[in-house]
């Protein structure tokens, strides 16, 4: 019996890792914003879903492929993030500790209702001919979308990591997260750096939205659940580490698929939330955190 169980394990493990990649993709932007500005962007999930809707609109109106639509989506979302940080969040920080949280909630509400008004509460999905069906990985077959998302996540993670390590702006973002005053004294315009960081985070949310939309159907309220998963990922993986976020995603993905395998599909999300809660209580800085 054990042999069967172990043999059967290969599929949930592979699926868990791939799913984890998608979760990591969703969380990468959030991780950067949280690491740099200690800001909970509770609208992150909704911004991601809105990107899926945008791709949907583009797909149904002009027949443009969702991934291709990112050529519009990424700059749009970057600009949106830049503006939100510069004109709303930066002001909010000066007001009180809860203010950025509350404003993000407001943005979340606005996005959810806009999506519902424009596209109705019924679920939608993104489609692309190359993303249909499964692909064989030797031991088992997985949906192509899972694989695509995993690859996208890996690419984005590596790009972000190198950006933060090698470019002036990237280093400035890291520096500002370690010592804001010190960064200013070195000549860094922290206001602009924060706006860039937020914009980059939004751009990754746009990417995440498209790949998410290709993999799962979505509704205007899908965002909230993924906000929590995204936070779970960055908390488990540790703040300020792109690689940590990636691994955190895989941990949560595995948690979900393995608990589903051993205890039934209905308990999956419950265990994911439980792990997030536990890590928050015991080691909030996560596995890789400082």
């Amino acid at each position: 019996m054990t042999v069967e169980v172990l043999a059967g394990l290969s599929r949930p493990i592979i699926m868990g890792v791939l799913l984890g990649g998608l979760y990591a993709l969703i969380a990468l932007g959030l991780s950067m914003v949280f690491g740099v500005m200690k800001l909970i962007n509770v609208a992150h999930g909704d911004l991601m879903i809105f990107s899926a809707y945008f791709a949907y609109a583009v797909m149904t109106t002009w027949g443009i492929d969702p991934i291709l639509s990112l050529t519009m989506g990424i700059p749009l979302w970057f600009g949106l993030g830049f503006v939100i940080q510069k004109y709303a969040m930066s002001r909010a920080f000066g007001i009180s500790m809860e203010a950025p949280l509350i404003i993000a909630f407001g943005i979340s509400l606005i996005l959810q209702s806009l999506a519902q008004i424009i596209w109705s509460p019924y679920s939608r999905a993104l489609e692309a001919p190359y993303a249909l069906g499964g692909i064989s990985l030797g031991i088992t077959t997985v949906p192509k979308t899972y694989l695509l998302s995993f690859v996208a996540a890996l690419v984005v993670m590596l790009v972000l990591r190198e950006f933060l390590r090698r470019s002036y702006l990237g280093k400035a973002i890291v520096a500002a997260s370690q010592d804001k005053r010190g960064a200013e004294l070195v000549g860094i315009n922290t206001g602009r750096v924060y706006a860039f960081a937020f914009g980059i985070a939004m751009a990754t949310a746009a990417i995440a939205g498209v790949f998410f939309g290709l993999t799962f159907p979505f509704t205007p309220t899908s965002g909230v659940g993924f906000l929590i998963i995204a936070f779970g990922v960055i908390i488990v993986g540790g703040l300020g580490s792109m690689l940590g976020t990636f691994i955190g995603g895989i941990v949560l993905g595995l948690t979900q698929t393995l608990s589903g395998y051993f205890l039934g599909a209905a308990t999956q999300m419950l265990f994911v939330y439980l792990i997030v809660f536990l890590v928050l209580a015991v080691r909030p800085q996560g596995i890789f955190g400082r």
Binding site: A99, G106, L111, Q112, V282
Partner: protein
Amino acid sequence: MKVPINQLRLMLPVVLVAVLAIFPIIGTPRVWLLYLFLFFVYLTMANMWNLLAGYSGLTFLGPAALIGLAGYTLVIVTWNDLPFYLGIIGGGIVAAAFAALIAVPTFRMRGIYFAIGTLVVPEALRYVFYLWKPVGGEMQGGGAGYMIKGIGELSLTEFYWLALAIGIVSIFLMRIILRSKLGLGLAAIRDSDRAAASSGVDVFRLKLYAFVIAAFVTGAAGAIFYIYQGYIAPASAFNIRWLMTCLLATVIGGIRTEEGPIVGTIIVVFLHFLLARYGALSLLIQGVILVVIMLLIPEGIVGFVRKTRAYRSLAALAAGR
């Protein structure tokens, strides 16, 4: 607000309450009663949220957990043929016990982590109640939904009085707590956990008291809501809209003020009714209001009014005299 010992000022609230109490008997229109019912239920929740987030520094994002749990307690109680008012008390107790339970892990979480942690709790509970059928086999609606039993003979009048009662309780509680030693301790904790602890304040215990009291009252209000609504399902019970309502009411009215939740709830319920048939549009407007208020008048309406000169001269007049 300093209240001078003035006969008129003491009489005013009593008269107000009496008037409100007799509303259902004197033939007030149903819509008004409904409005006031929701007002008092939401006011209670907003007040308790204000106590935690505004006055104690506990940005608690999981009121849905308490409300949902209380609602399901009500289900268990009424399905076992016990009277509904025991369900209300039971709901409060279960919510309070749950709060005490999660206090231990969540109070370890600092600031922003506490917020996320408490956001996770209702989500987890939602899944728990998808899986766990606490009573019988009757499913209503999309899975794991229940009707509340034993409330058939109740009319809007009774619902109204229940809501009025809990609403007044919440206002009284705020008054008393904020002026007590507990309130003082909470204010110190809100300013700085560490400073308070080094001044001898038992931070954990005070936070626990505030949390448990707020949970009990919030739970009771939730149970009362479900008595009116008549059925409960996990998706709507553990929904983030409970947090939204508390947040909106408190922020619009003025966080960290006693009158704030009152003013805010009036507006929130008004919007709710005014925009009811526009569904998503009403949420959109509420979201916009939230952002605009936070950016322009973060101290809320009450906070803003207090700063104006007109108010200050009025207040000086009333107190100085």
